[in-house]
């Protein structure tokens, strides 16, 4: 693999950039692999990368029904943070943060991880209590997170409207300075390039149509649009389509897939320095390097695989943004799109072995999977390679829905009074 650097770029300028090689190959599938990953999104590609890099498992195929990075990886609002409440969650997301820091160098691909800070606004007494609880829990867990008064929040994010006269005045904010954004496509491409370089076959336009199990119930291979592929280990990393893929192996999942919308404005000069999220009034916003305001909306209320959503969701998202940042009312929406997010009952992911031997599943990231990409891939690779979970993902089983040991991030933000 040709290493990327400024020097290399300058050198190639002299040859009119005619000599850059492929970032990844377009191989035909082999008859057999040690591991087959279903889904070439960020999580799937990261899994393959770490399988090769950390575990020496290089005879790996990543099968993708469309184009790599084309699902939620390429459709999300690119927020990175780890200030989750429960120790289990914080450990998982913080593991990812540790990997984000240095990921560009690790992959030799600029993923543009920008620790510009993620600020989560509190608008009510209850919000303040919840935020404080997060901050205290995070401090004990070694996760950076701090409390800002409205004035401090305004100083950190000057466009913020901290007037007492708005419908839900800002009472303060939790700020995670190491939180921020990264360039979504670059994450998928960087992992793809790195994995490919170590021998992983990334096979695009290759729909999986079946998972073959032997007499003992164990996985024997996958049926695909490009023929049968033999393998003893299958890792399903199919986000919104997980239920359907797991159905092929006869495993029922506690998942529902919802449309999630996001949108960007036309690009403008720097207008917004960080990421701001508000759970109470349902909006989050940042500005991309290109200058677009990147705004996340909520999910529609019904299951759908349409990758579109209703305008009422957009209306509510934008009215919330305009309430917090009233001068953005004259900005204009450039593009709106939708993804399919797979949501578990406790809003925490499943990263786990399954009742089927040789079948592993990584799903349920809901609206927040992008931030976990490196950490998720890292521990999932461990789980597949060792046939047992890494200590970090050990709590994220399917079984927890039977026993009741939920990791309930949604409940922890329950509405009070």
């Amino acid at each position: 693999m040709k290493r990327y650097s400024f020097l290399e770029l300058a050198k190639n300028a002299f040859s009119a950039h005619q000599n850059w090689g492929r970032q990844w190959r377009a191989p035909e599938p082999k008859a057999e692999y040690d591991v087959v990953i279903i889904g070439a999104g960020g999580h799937g590609l990261a899994t393959a990368y770490y399988l090769a890099k950390e575990h020496g498992v290089r005879n790996v195929a990543v099968l993708e029904k469309g184009w790599l990075g084309g699902g939620n990886t390429g459709r999300n609002t690119t927020i990175v943070r780890s200030n989750y409440l429960w120790e289990e969650s914080a450990a998982l997301y913080n593991h990812a943060i540790d990997l984000w820091d240095g990921l560009s160098q690790e992959l030799n691909y600029n993923v543009m991880y920008s620790a510009r800070g993620v600020m989560m606004l509190a608008h009510t007494v209850h919000d303040v209590q919840v935020a404080q609880r997060h901050i205290h829990a995070n401090r004990l867990a070694g996760v950076q997170n701090e409390w800002l008064t409205p004035e401090q929040a305004k100083e950190y994010c000057p466009p913020l409207n901290i007037s007492k006269d708005i419908r839900y005045p800002v009472m303060g904010a939790a700020l995670q300075r190491v939180g921020g954004t990264a360039r979504h496509d670059a994450v998928a491409w960087g992992y793809a390039r790195g994995a490919d370089d170590m021998g992983v076959d990334i096979i695009q336009n290759c729909l999986v149509t079946g998972i073959k199990r032997g007499a003992d119930g164990a996985v024997e291979g996958v049926e695909t649009a490009k023929g049968f592929i033999k393998t003893k280990k299958v890792g399903v990393v199919a986000a919104g389509n997980t239920t359907n893929v797991m159905d092929m192996a006869g495993v029922r999942m506690p998942l529902e897939s919802y449309p999630l919308q996001a949108l960007v404005s036309e690009p403008v000069k720097p207008a917004f320095p960080c990421v701001v999220m508000s759970n109470t009034i349902h909006a989050y916003i940042s500005q991309s390097d290109k200058g677009e305001l990147v705004i996340g909306a909520g999910t529609d209320q019904f299951i759908s695989y349409s990758q579109t959503g209703g305008i009422h969701i957009t209306n509510h998202t934008i009215d919330a943004i305009c309430e917090l940042f009233p001068h953005f009312r004259r900005m204009r929406m450039l593009r709106n799109w939708g993804g399919i997010v797979d949501v578990t009952p406790d809003r925490s992911p499943i990263l786990s072995k399954t009742p089927v031997s040789g079948l592993y599943v990584n799903c349920g990231w809901g609206t927040g999977g992008f931030k976990a990409t490196p950490g998720s891939g890292h521990v999932f690779a461990h789980t597949i390679a060792k046939d047992e979970p890494h200590s970090i993902n050990a709590p994220f089983t399917i079984d927890r829905f039977k026993t009741g040991r939920l990791i309930d991030e949604a409940a922890a933000a329950a509405v009070a009074h």
Binding site: Y4, S5, L9, F14, A16, H17, R22, A26, G66, W67, G74, S104, Y109, N110, M112, Y113, T124, V125, H126, Q132, H136, A137, L140, A141, D165, R167, R183, W189, G190, E266, P267, V268, P270, I281, D289, K290, S306, G310, I311, T314, I318, D319, I321, C322, P326, H327, F328, R329, R330, M331, R332, R335, N336, G404, A410, A412, A414, V415, A416, H417
Partner: protein
């Protein structure tokens, strides 16, 4: 010098109305009917902006909403709106426009250095560098990139304009008012169908407004348009919306339109909304969005003065503006020849027509020759000269070998180009239809309809005036028939002229220049060149989506409307795959950029979300109460007297309630009337507690779980009669409790004879709490004996308060003697003010939610959502007593039996007392066994509530702690940044453990 490029006559502008406007501070003249673009061109201004990446000088390219270059900021009321297309901005008296993305000026832009450095900045260069040193990315590189990126400057001040909204229904929505759209609207309207016709432009007519050669029914097209519009205006069933863009096509034939109401007016009436969102449910939609012309991809095709041929014709015929004095036509398509003829007829020197084709149609050549225009067949532009304005073009001759031989240079001050036409399939694509490649049209056209829509005319690749009109009529008839089942006899208008043009080209054109040195732009705004697309393909980007994302082609503010087809073609060549195998990026909404304010509409301030107030509101405001937001409700938080802070006010309120009496507004609590013979059975199933034996006139605390076994709500429930219960819920939980009850009732137990009715707002509730509570209410209550024996703690009776009916509860959330007076809401203000007056006499106080929280915490009562968080069971909360032990089932019972819910080490509800009684714990603080736990130590639990307790004369706290019930008396720690706080685990009941004060 005034408008040197304005024609002598012609055009649709109002020459009688001269308007003054400024561009970058320079004053210029235009006319009513001008766009900013046409007015600038009339003044000879082509250079209007700088490109995104290389900051190259750019000019106006189009005459429509697809304009990629001419983006301007418009100042109004001291603030600017960025990125408006000069081709859409209508000139009004005093319009102030500025150019963007340049510093210090449009003419001299330091950012243009990027153009010189461009060899270093190929597609995706930023993925390959800026990685060292690591810390430099977000501190050094990124800020520089950000400052250079972006286009216009963001608005600075809050927007005071208003935005309207209208929900509309129609039988047939027609989007676009060119020949096909107008014909469709007429045909549909004739059947009596309700029709909405919208067009993004100020005037209806589309391409007909710039056609001076054809006739329809013997009239010039513009005249036919006028007559047709007059006719439609006269029909009650037709709504005409100009300046209205159909920007979004959603599921179930739901279409969003953006109407610009005042933006074109110099001094609009502030009562009018700036824009209006139309949300239309249409039975059928006719998409008549036309087609747009394609640029040609030749080296230096981006210089100011290079426009699309049809734009040149539009500026001439519609706006009376010549794009130049010496114009070169570069084309591969017949239609551009008409532009040449029109220009020549207006006295413009058409220096040559360079047609890519070896043999352009003879009739066209003959007409050109008759006008003395030089015709170069098999000829291609291979480059251009001029920095801020094109001054010459290099021509090349296509050889049979495929090579290009230089054919000299031709001086010109404008080039009009045409690579053919691309149907506008955005709306169709948004409707989730799949476009299909049509080889004869040489474009993607709409395929099968997925929703109730049909495309008509050029939007589906059908060209030629007569054919377009006919297709429009047919589409309108078909749409009306599908919508309302009616047909009408429509006389089709007959056209002559406006024939469909032949010929087209896709992708980069051959040239004889040094390929590594020249730039042929595909996406103007984002500075994507043919080379960039080829590089992406070389680097393994195989999907068009990858190429788009890697090069950013098609991601500019025109969303690829000009560039997509050329990009696809170049990618197809580079990947050696047929164009259809390269794929097509999805058209996303909005069709053109759409103002945020339009989506937000009236939702701002108090109209952002309903502000729900209780009847005490006016009194509270008058008495200085401080509100907190609880859901949509305003609840009084505390009542500071002058000079008091929150702490002092709450301490006083707490003490007063315990000493004498307090008045609290409990109106926001949810109330549900459960009525019917099976009412008790229903509650038996919904709540953990037993209800069947509760006597009428008595109350009980009820605990509600979800079927997973966790606490979700609580409240006091009073039995008014055998078949009638008054249920209370938490304030925030009211809607969800009601919905949950309906769910079980309708879908699990439809056989039960019981109904539920929300009465939250039927009653206002005043809680009078404290030793003197009875004395306070006694003077006003009739029909109820308030003494302890007939009316003990946990009772409910109906009587009157000041003569109005009331439901009086004897209940307490404070641990004191307490009453809650429920009166019909309209009497709530009177009730509150009467009681507020009365408590004064007893040295009592009104108190807010904070004091309520302290008082209940002293008693160890939980607040659902604060002391519980959706993971707490009744056992965890120490409330096993609330579970009806003999009940076979209730919601949550089975869930409670799951392994983890009965496991050891669950977190349980306890009290905490700090060793130092003055130290108040922070809510949310974590609890550990170790005094100084190492980072990463799992917490034993957390502080859920923490207050200064006046009754205890010290701080108190509530918490959930692992195995807490077994730890009473033990020490734990609350590690804080400035040191660890030692706490003792206690019972959560701090005050009046026996409850003696309740039963008086």
């Amino acid at each position: 010098m005034s408008q040197p490029f304005r024609t002598e006559k012609g055009g649709r502008i109002d020459r009688g109305q001269q308007l003054t406007f400024t561009f970058d501070g320079e004053e210029m003249q235009g006319h009513k009917g001008d766009t900013l673009a046409s007015a600038l061109l009339a003044n000879g201004v082509h250079l209007v902006g700088r490109s995104f990446k290389y900051h190259r000088p750019r000019g106006i390219v189009t005459a429509g909403s697809e304009e990629p270059n001419a983006l301007v900021g418009v100042y109004r009321k001291g603030d600017q709106t960025p990125n408006l297309r000069a081709t859409q901005v209508e000139v009004y008296q005093g319009l102030e426009a500025i150019s963007q993305n340049r510093f210090p000026s449009l003419g001299f832009d330091v950012g243009a250095v990027n153009d010189l450095l461009s060899p270093l900045f190929p597609a995706g260069f930023y993925y390959k560098t800026f990685m060292w040193p690591k810390a430099f990315w977000d501190r050094v590189y990124e800020p520089v990139i950000r400052a250079a990126a972006g286009l216009g400057k963001p608005p600075k001040n809050p927007d005071h304009d208003t935005y309207g909204n209208i929900y509309a229904h129609c039988d047939v929505l027609v989007a676009g008012s060119g020949p096909a759209g107008l014909a469709a609207a007429v045909a549909a309207a004739e059947t009596g169908a309700k029709v909405i016709l919208c067009d993004e432009q100020a005037e209806f007519g589309g391409s007909l407004l710039s056609d001076e050669n054809a006739t329809i029914d013997g009239k010039p097209p513009a005249e036919w348009v006028r007559d047709t519009i007059v006719k439609l205006q006269g029909m009650d069933n037709v709504t005409l919306l100009s300046r209205t863009t159909a920007f979004g096509y959603f599921a179930h034939n739901y279409i969003a339109l953006a109407e610009r109401v005042t933006e074109h007016v110099s001094d609009p009436d502030p009562k009018l909304p700036r824009e209006r969102l139309w949300q239309v449910r249409a039975k059928e939609v006719v998409i008549a969005s036309g087609a747009i012309e394609r640029p040609m991809v030749f080296p230096e095709n981006d210089r100011p003065g290079i426009l699309l041929a049809d734009a040149g014709r539009t500026y001439l015929n519609r706006y009376g503006v010549k794009v130049g004095n010496k114009v070169l036509i570069a084309t591969a398509c017949d239609t551009a020849w008409q532009a040449a003829f029109d220009l020549a007829d207006h006295g413009v020197d058409v220096v040559a027509i360079a047609d890519l084709r070896e043999t352009p149609p003879e009739n066209l050549v003959a007409i050109a020759q008759a006008r003395g225009i030089r015709v170069e067949a098999g000829c291609v532009v291979t480059g251009t000269l001029g920095r801020k304005r094109v001054k010459a073009a290099l021509l090349g001759r296509l050889m049979t070998s495929g090579q290009v031989a230089s054919a000299g240079q031709v001086a010109c001050d404008a080039i009009l180009m045409s690579g053919g036409w691309t149907p506008t399939v955005s709306l169709y694509s948004q409707s989730r239809g799949k476009v299909v490649w049509d080889e004869t049209v040489g474009a993607y056209v709409p395929g099968k309809s997925v929703q109730h829509e049909r495309s008509a005319g050029a939007a589906k690749g059908l060209y030629g005036l007569q054919a377009t009109l006919e297709d429009g009529y047919a589409a309108g008839e078909a749409a009306a028939k599908a919508a309302i089942g009616k047909e009408a006899k429509v006389t089709y208008a007959a056209a002559s002229g406006g024939e469909a043009g032949q010929g087209a080209v896709l992708g980069a054109l051959p040239h004889d220049r040094n390929a590594s040195r020249v730039k042929a732009f595909v996406d103007y705004q984002n500075d994507v060149t043919a080379k960039d697309i080829k590089l992406a393909a070389r680097e393994g980007m195989q999907s068009i989506e990858h190429i788009k994302r890697y090069t950013t082609t098609g991601m500019a503010t025109d969303q690829g409307r000009l560039s997509n087809m050329n990009a696809l073609s170049i990618a197809s060549g580079a990947l050696e795959k047929p164009i259809v195998d390269v794929g097509l990026t999805t058209f996303r909404l909005p069709y053109t950029p759409t103002t945020f304010g339009l989506f937000a509409g009236v939702a701002r301030g108090d109209h952002f979300d309903p502000v729900r107030k209780t009847p005490s509101h006016d009194w509270v405001v008058a008495n200085g109460g401080v509100y907190e937001d609880v859901g949509q409700w305003k609840r009084t938080w505390y009542f500071p007297k002058s000079g008091e802070d929150m702490h002092a006010a709450v301490a006083r309120e707490c003490a007063t309630v315990r000493e004498s009496v307090g008045l609290f507004d409990a109106s926001t609590l949810g109330k549900i009337e459960v009525v019917g013979p099976d009412a008790a059975e229903f509650l038996e199933r919904m709540y953990t507690n037993p209800w069947k034996k509760l006597a009428p006139g008595r109350c009980r605390y009820g605990l509600m779980l979800n079927d997973a076994g966790f606490i979700v709500d609580d409240g006091v429930i009073g039995r008014l009669a055998d078949d009638r219960f008054h249920v209370t819920t938490t304030t925030g939980g009211a809607p969800s409790v009601f919905a949950t009850m309906e769910d079980y009732l309708q879908t699990e137990w439809p056989d039960l004879d019981v109904w539920i009715t929300s009465t939250t707002e039927q009653y206002a509730v005043a809680a009078v709490q404290g030793p003197k509570a009875r004395e306070v209410i006694a003077p006003f209550i009739e029909g109820i004996d308030l003494s302890a024996d007939p009316f003990p703690h946990m009772s409910v009776k109906e009587g009157t308060f000041c003569g109005v009916p009331c439901r009086l509860f004897r209940i307490s959330f404070t641990g004191e003697l307490g009453f809650e007076i429920n009166v019909p809401r309209r009497h709530g203000k009177m009730t509150w003010e009467t009681l507020a007056g009365e408590i004064e006499k007893h040295n009592g106080t009104a108190y807010g939610t904070e004091t309520m929280h302290v008082l209940r915490a002293e008693k160890g009562y939980i607040i659902v959502g604060q002391d519980t968080d959706g993971t707490v069971t009744p056992q965890d909360a120490g409330m096993s007593w609330a579970i009806g032990k003999k009940k076979h089932d209730f919601v949550g019972k089975r869930g409670l039996e799951r392994p983890d819910l009965v496991a050891e080490n669950r977190k349980q509800f306890v009290g905490l007392l700090t060793k130092d009684p003055k130290v108040k714990l922070e809510e949310g603080a974590q609890i550990t066994v170790a005094q100084n736990p190492a980072t990463g130590t799992p917490a034993e639990g957390h502080v859920t509530s923490s207050y200064y307790s006046p009754a205890m004369g010290r701080t108190i706290a509530l918490a959930i702690v692992k195995n807490g019930h077994a730890l009473h008396g033990k020490s734990l720690y609350v590690p804080m940044p400035d040191g660890s706080i030692e706490v003792e685990v206690t019972s959560p009941i701090f005050f009046d453990k026996e409850g003696a004060r309740l039963n008086v």
